[in-house]
Symmetry: C2
Subunit: 318 residues, 2 copies
DNA sequence: ATTATTTATGTAACTGGTTACGTAAATATA
DNA sequence: TATATTTACGTAACCAGTTACATAAATAAT
């Protein structure tokens, strides 16, 4: 059986390459058929030069989408074959300005029928297909410009991983985990502070009993992430989102986002108006996550934490 | 403006390559994202091995469509990285039998989610397009298997060139040309015979006046091909197709075919039943042409020509 | 049984591109 | 005006494949 049929669409890249190779290989024979003294690899450079008076190396490279050393080499070869002329730019001594030689211009005339025939051959073949390859490429280039394949795959990944994640409410058996996961990242970047000990050593008393909540993220039944929604004694903020921690081995599985969502949903359910949080700008992924959750930066709130250098809020009801 | 838009469809090959390159480049990042110790270039080899117990180098090469040295190199690298095990075949000392190592099999398990995500990402992107790239490739590979791009281009070429060719009837001003073009090929492969001189020196008397015809092919108004339809004194054959000659500089422009067609049409118009011809098997393109015109080999006719070692006929009416 | 051919594989050299790096000219900045 | 930065381009080294060639084992032919 054909390899690509077996592998499936994940081999799209290789399959495209195989097709493009078989086509470019034939291109070589076609050039030979028309007896044009032109190597297929020269074609892009040759073509842009035939459409213009003269062009510098980098300009050509940009237009045809090659690197400049590639064009540099091609031009040297073409120059040796008498197809192009190199000359230094008078007003800019760095630029090597290339133009077609007399012979090159003759080739440009001689190649015209080839252009016509190849174009027609491809058009006719395209007309016989139900899915237009040319337009399909158009569409793909557009899609990939909008959102890279990498990001598309990442999204698939997140979506799939999310199936394995369940967010549950705190029970005392997670007390040690709650402390451990938080201590891990706090001591990595900062040091444990008084308020940390208070919340992490006695979550029941200092968070739950005061009207707050703690969420545990289970990844395939293993608890790997935690976060707290702490009741605030503030006329404006109902809750503070805090003590968010995800095990390093579960990073990139979107667990932070799911924990955040769970906390926000709980706050909404309880009719909360605003959520507050504090963080530090060196924790870039965290700040990023808060942004994605909808938090906006605010300034000028007193904080018991030394490490806090940024405050954010999420407005639930106007 | 985008190079490919300007160049048009004749750059289909390069355009495919550009797309495949951008996709395979992203593939590398995707592998990194999933933290699988696998280089993208190893993938095809890895994949076929993961689908089977063990395979020899050439078998793998055939399946994935690479050359065997390529597979040989890839396997060496993968072996150094502990992904595969090489072992000599007991019953055939030449074969190097490859199988996944323990680590390789672990990777095969670890890579599963990547397969799923990439497949889904591509499927979803495909679903957003009007022209299905995957199916379009299918169709193109089918089309190219049926008839290569080269042949398609050749056909376009012939079709276009045919516009420039006109077939006209002999007038005395072509007498020299008629002889010259024929003498050229006859003396190149054989020697001039008595019957040649008769027909070529006095075509009016020996061909036309006897009820035969001579056709001249003009390529862009320049006479570059000739052929004769000679009346035969035979109860079965009405005419003999003979003295077909095309200038070497006009070869490959389908002129022979157009001359032959003109002669056959004339014979048909005149209600002829059968056309006869003689040739030599070393003139392969000629024999080929006669076949394409519909002539079939026949045996056992007397001939005045020494060089004739094959006789053919075209039956016009049963 | 010997010899010729075919097959499986590895090595070397080539191909058409790339990235990395260095240099000189042009331009921006202090 | 001196210095730093940017730009244009060439050279070198690399990359993932290829073709060309050599060798040894297996198979076919004599």
């Amino acid at each position: 059986m054909d390899f690509f049929e077996q592998v499936g669409k994940k081999a799209l890249g290789s399959r495209l390459r195989r097709l493009s190779e078989s086509i470019t290989e034939e291109a070589g024979e076609i050039y030979r058929l028309y007896d044009i003294g032109l190597q297929p690899k020269w074609f892009p450079v040759f073509y842009v030069l035939s459409q213009s008076q003269e062009k510098a190396i980098t300009t050509i490279a940009e237009e045809i989408g090659h690197s400049h050393p590639s064009v540099s080499k091609l031009v040297t070869e073409m120059s040796r074959n008498g197809l192009v002329i190199e000359k230094k730019d008078r007003s800019d001594g760095r630029r090597n300005v290339i133009s077609l030689s007399k012979k090159g211009r003759e080739v440009a005339v001689k190649i015209e029928p080839l252009y016509i025939d190849v174009n027609n051959a491809i058009e006719q073949a395209l007309a016989q297909t139900r899915n237009d390859l040319w337009k399909a490429i158009d569409e793909w280039e557009f899609l990939l410009k909008q959102k890279s394949l990498l990001r598309r795959v990442e999204e698939q990944n997140k979506q799939r991983e999310a199936q394995y994640v369940t967010i549950i409410d705190y029970t005392p058996k997670y007390r040690k985990l709650f402390k451990q996961l938080n201590e891990e990242w706090i001591t990595k970047y900062f040091k444990m502070e008084e308020a940390d000990h208070k919340a992490l050593d006695h979550p029941q008393k200092n968070i739950i009993d005061k009207g707050g909540y703690i969420f545990i993220a289970l990844y395939k039944d293993e608890p790997l992430g935690v976060c707290a929604l702490m009741k605030m004694n503030d006329p404006y903020y109902d809750f503070e989102l805090a003590k968010m921690a995800v095990s390093p081995k579960a990073q990139g599985k979107n667990i932070g986002w799911l924990l955040g969502q769970a906390a926000i949903n709980r706050a909404k359910t309880l009719g909360a108006k605003n959520i507050y949080l504090e963080s530090n700008t060196i924790l870039k992924p965290a700040i990023n996550l808060y942004h994605k959750l909808g938090f906006k930066k605010v300034a000028g709130h007193p904080t018991p934490y030394e490490r806090s250098n940024i405050q954010m809020e999420l407005i639930l009801q106007l």
